[in-house]
Each structure stands twice: as C-alpha cells, then as structure tokens.
C-alpha cells in the first residue's frame, strides 16, 4: 500500500482545485496499468472493458478491476477498495507509479518499521481443540468491522484479506490465529446483514489456512458495548450473536461464546491455555466457568477478551471477569475494541490491545496489521506488531514478557 499511497499523493497533490470537476482531463500522461488508466471519467461508459469508473479523492478515474484474489496483474499496482461513480463497492488496481510528475509536496509517510525475525520453524499441530507445538508462535487479528451500520459495501474486505494473506505467507507461518472480536456492524433484528458481513469476513480470513479462534465482541451482541446476549440475558439471541455462533464458532465445534484452548509443548516442557471470555454474554455460568478455567495450572495463560479493562462504557462481563483473572497467574490479556494497537506499561502492564484488523483506525500514526507472539528459547514471549503492507515490525510496540507476565528483555 505504501506504493499506492505515493501514487495517490501524486494524483491528488497535482490535481488541486484548478482542475476540479467535470472538465478535468487529468492524467494525460498516464501510464496504463493493468488495462486501467489515470484518465478521468464521469460514468462507467467512459471506461473501457475491464475497468470501472471509481471515486478516488475528488475525482473519478478509470481503474482496472482487481482479480478475485485481490491481486493486480501488474506488480506495479496495488489492489484497494474503492467506490464506483454510482456508489457500488469494488476493488481496483491503483498505480504505484505516478500519473503525473511528482511535485515537491508529494512525499508519502516514512516507514519506521524494522525487519521482523520470526525465528526457527515450528513443528506440531493445533486444531479446534488445541494441540502441541515445538514452540508457541501465533498471530492476533482484531476488530474488522466496517465504519457504518449495516454497511456491506464498506466492509474492509481488501484489508482483512491482505492481513490474512500476509499471515499465510509468513515464514514460518504462525501455527494459529486469535481474533479479538467485532467482525460486523449490523442490525440485531431480522433484517440484519450480520450473516452477510460475517460471510465476507470468513471468506477473507480463509486466505490463512491455519485454525482460528475468535473472541466475541460487543458487535456480536447488539453493537452497544453494554449489551448482553445469550439465553436469559438482557438482549437474548440477536442476529449478530447467531451469525457469530453459527459462522465462526460452530465450525470449530464451540457451542458457547466462551471457551478455553490448550496448546502444549511437543516435548511436554511447557503448557499453555488460551481463555476466551465473552464479556457481552456474561452470566453466572460463565463466571463459574472462568474461575475453573483460570485455576488450571499452565506455564502460560493468555486471556482473550474484546473489551480492555478500562473500556468506557463497559461490557457487562468486563469488570467481573477482570476481578476473576486478577486472582490467578497469567501471562497476557489480549484485547481489542479500540481500533488501534498498543502495549502500555501502566496501569495494565499485561494488557495488549490488538484492534487494527480493518475497522476504522482511531489513532493518527498506526496502520492496519496483525500481532505475532513468538516463544523464545528461554521461554519468554516476544510480541510484535506487523504492518500489513510493509510487513515490518513497529519497534515502538515490541516487547518481551516472561511466562509470569513480567516484562523482560
């Protein structure tokens, strides 16, 4: 994306108001890319076969439609989500070369990432009920919902697809992936697009071939952070909840929105558990289950919940679950909800936020991506955030934690 961003920089930086609107024939020196061009258009009839008239910035351009796998025929172009002249969602190839000569202000963002060393190969397998590995090595993706309610056209398919393609292509490939919730922004009633949105998510995540373990977010209930779903709870069984259970949990054999997965060493030298809490399906049964799950002694314990400990407003199970886990040893608490990422040493040194999976980014400097957690030979867990376009790690995020949750080097 960095390349395409530079191209857009040039495109829009050069156009300006003087060339605004209907009479502009911008990009006259356009290089043809994948059969598309930088030529402006008003309607689809202005574009040749294989291209669509899409809105990019203040103008519309004929751009080549991306192949179904999200790739462009030319390596000099990137596939991005776009909107056609008549408001339809599509994906088009945007040039990495300029449509017009660059001007002095055409500089793109400077990449501050560093190369990521994934370490040695991982052997063993993890399935729906856990498994054994030579070392812990897993990815985390969080918050993939669109910005707008019921918005199928605005679902961040291209971003989510790219993220999972990245994870699949990593060497070594992460053994499994956790997701921190909010896969949809849908109505909770009978006309909901929840199922369709989750279908988009499932298709996108299929770019990664390993097993995936999703946590429940507030948008898997009604969307309100305070909502509480499940039989007997305030909001009951919503369309969002049903879609989450049917499309994300049933395929891995889970019948409740909270569950635990054990992944242990092939040579029995360590054990781990991943405890998935559903703070928006909270009841006394889950409370009891959580106490029991946390009591299981393991070398590593990773708690996965959508809402951070300080989310405001709070999820119904946020504070109660926080109180329970505080009574047991754990390594990290992996959360989402905030559409960003971060690890802050105070006041929650064991909390890590991974919410930059495609939902609209809330911070000014952090890009979409995914986290990787890798077990070192000394047993410490190394955490990194990988930019989904550069595949570089954010050195400001990087941290190392002992099995006990103590930060180390």
């Amino acid at each position: 994306m960095r390349h395409s961003l530079l191209a857009l920089t040039v495109l829009f930086g050069a156009l300006g108001c003087a060339r605004d609107g209907l009479t502009d024939d911008g990009g006259t020196d356009a290089s043809l890319l994948d059969g598309g061009s930088c030529a402006t258009c008003v309607t689809g009839s202005d574009c040749s076969d294989g291209t669509q008239c899409v809105q990019l910035g203040v103008n519309s351009y004929c751009m080549a439609v991306c192949a179904s796998d999200g790739s462009c025929a030319s390596s000099e172009a990137s596939c991005i989500a776009a909107t056609t002249f008549d408001g339809q969602s599509t994906q088009v190839c945007v040039p990495s070369t300029s449509c017009e000569p660059p001007d002095d202000d055409a500089g793109g963002p400077v990449d501050s990432g560093v190369p990521y060393d994934a370490g040695g190969q991982v052997t063993g397998t993890v399935g729906a009920d856990g498994g054994t590995l030579s070392r812990l090595y897993f990815g985390v993706v969080g918050d993939t919902r669109p910005a707008n309610y019921e918005d199928l056209a605005g679902y961040p398919t291209a971003i989510v697809t790219k993220i999972f393609q990245d994870i699949e292509a990593f060497s070594p490939k992460p053994a499994f992936v956790l997701a921190t919730g909010d896969y949809q922004f849908a109505a909770s009633g009978s006309t909901s697009t929840a199922s369709k949105q989750l279908a988009l998510y499932v298709t996108a995540r299929q770019q990664y071939s390993g097993i995936q373990f999703p946590a429940m977010g507030n948008h898997e209930c009604t969307g309100s952070t305070t909502s509480n779903c499940g039989t007997g709870n305030t909001n009951g069984i919503t369309a969002n909840y049903t879609a989450f259970m049917n499309q994300l949990l049933t395929p891995i054999g889970k019948t409740l929105p909270y569950y635990v997965i054990n992944v242990n060493a092939v040579d029995s030298s360590w054990t781990s558990k991943f405890v998935f809490i559903a703070a928006n399906a909270w009841d006394s049964t889950q409370s009891s289950w959580l106490s029991t799950a946390m009591a299981q002694k393991t070398t590593y314990t990773f708690v996965v919940r959508h809402e951070p400990p300080d989310a405001s407003p709070a999820g119904p199970g946020q504070a109660p679950s926080e109180a329970i886990i505080a009574g047991f040893p754990y390594t990290l608490e992996i959360v989402g909800h905030s559409h960003t990422y971060g690890h802050y040493t105070t006041p929650y040194p064991r909390e890590v936020i991974i919410g930059n999976g495609g939902a609209p980014l809330t911070s000014s400097s952090k890009n979409y991506g995914f986290a990787l957690f890798s077990q070192r030979t000394d047993g410490a867990i190394v955490a990194d955030m990988i930019d989904y376009m550069t595949l570089k790690a954010d050195s400001y995020f990087h941290f190392v934690v002992a099995p006990t949750g103590t930060l180390t080097k």
Binding site: F12, Q55, G87, E150, H339, S364
Partner: protein
C-alpha cells in the same frame, strides 16, 4: 465529483443512520486523505443523500480521544475535533462546521470576503458518540454526525441535475500527538456534488 442519490424515503435526523437509504446506496467520499495524499489517520468518511428539499450528510470520525470544548453555536470550533463542510455557488461560500458535541458554527462568505457568522444554515444535526467527551485518559472509538442542510439556504431549488461545489475536511487532535486535518480532496474548494 459525487453523484448524490435522492432518498426515496424520509431521513430522521437522530444520529442513528439506520434508514434503508443510508445502507442501500448513498454517495460516498471513501476514506479522507491526509495532506500527503495518503489515507488519513484517524479514519474519516462521509455519505450523502438528498431529498425533501435537504442535503443529508453522515459524517463518520474514528477517534481515540473525542474533544469538544465550545459551548455555544457559532463558537470557536477551530480547536475542537470537528468537520468542516464548504459548499460554493455563484461566488458564495457556505461554511458549516460541526463538533462531536453537536455544536455548529455556520457562516457565509461572498466574493472572497470575510466569513459572516450571522448567517444561519438552518441545518438540523444529531450525533452519536462511542466514547467519553473530553476525557483523554480512556480510549474512545468514534463519533458520527447526521445532518440535514436545507438546500434553499444554499440558493438551490432542490432539483435533479443541480450542482454545487463541495469540500469536506476534518481536524482532530489525537492522543499524545499534534492536531491533524484530513479531507475529501484537498480540503479547500474542490469537487462537485450533483443531485441525481
């Protein structure tokens, strides 16, 4: 250029944007751009419809720290998180700024002169906010403005085929960072709306 569809049904200005017209096919700006030309962070976008003599906008702002200090309409919004809508016709600029609090500052400028804040757009505005206003200690998520601007206030008849020059920008002060602005287009007087 954005072709703005006519809504077949009434839009209730309540900040919820749950009408079918908002879902089925509004005009979309897509992600706002930073001055560098890259997609801006934090994320912003807008959707537009028209009908019933009004131009409807949904303004979406992802925001980890929602800040809005102005307490009265036409108050100073230039330090607040805010959107700025500028519509221009026949040498007249109509400027409407709106903060996550719902506070509005609207003004008119004729022939490049000074902004006149006595002008009232008559815009109806509702907001939806996921986060806490003016509390930088927590992590906010987003705010949404749903707005209806009377086309008559812009000197328009409200007829298919009418056009108006249009720009849209958003400024925000993220946590631990400097104030940043992003826009559809270059944030000044660019682009054009066409009422379909």
């Amino acid at each position: 250029m954005l072709r703005v569809p006519r809504t077949p049904s009434a839009i209730t200005i309540d900040g919820e944007t749950d009408e079918a017209a908002w879902v089925s096919g509004p005009a979309r700006t897509g992600a706002f751009l930073a001055p560098s030309g890259a997609p801006a962070q934090p994320y912003s976008e807008a959707r537009l419809l028209w009908g019933n003599g009004e131009l409807y906008l949904t303004l979406y702002a992802a925001d980890d720290d929602i800040e809005s200090r102005a307490t009265r309409n036409d108050g100073p919004l230039w330090m607040d998180d805010s959107f700025r809508v500028t519509l221009s016709r026949d040498g007249v600029d109509y400027v409407i700024e709106v903060a996550p609090s719902g506070i509005v500052a609207d003004a008119i400028r004729r022939d490049g002169g000074a902004l006149d804040y006595k002008w009232q757009s008559g815009a109806r505005i509702a907001r939806d906010m996921d986060g806490t206003l003016n509390d930088p200690k927590d992590n906010d998520e987003e705010w949404v403005i749903e707005m209806a601007i009377p086309l008559a206030a812009l000197g328009m008849k409200g007829e298919s085929g009418e056009t108006v020059t249009f720009s849209l920008s958003r400024c925000d002060t993220p946590k631990l960072s400097r104030r940043v602005c992003s826009s559809w287009g270059d944030g000044t007087t660019c682009g054009r709306l066409v009422l379909e």
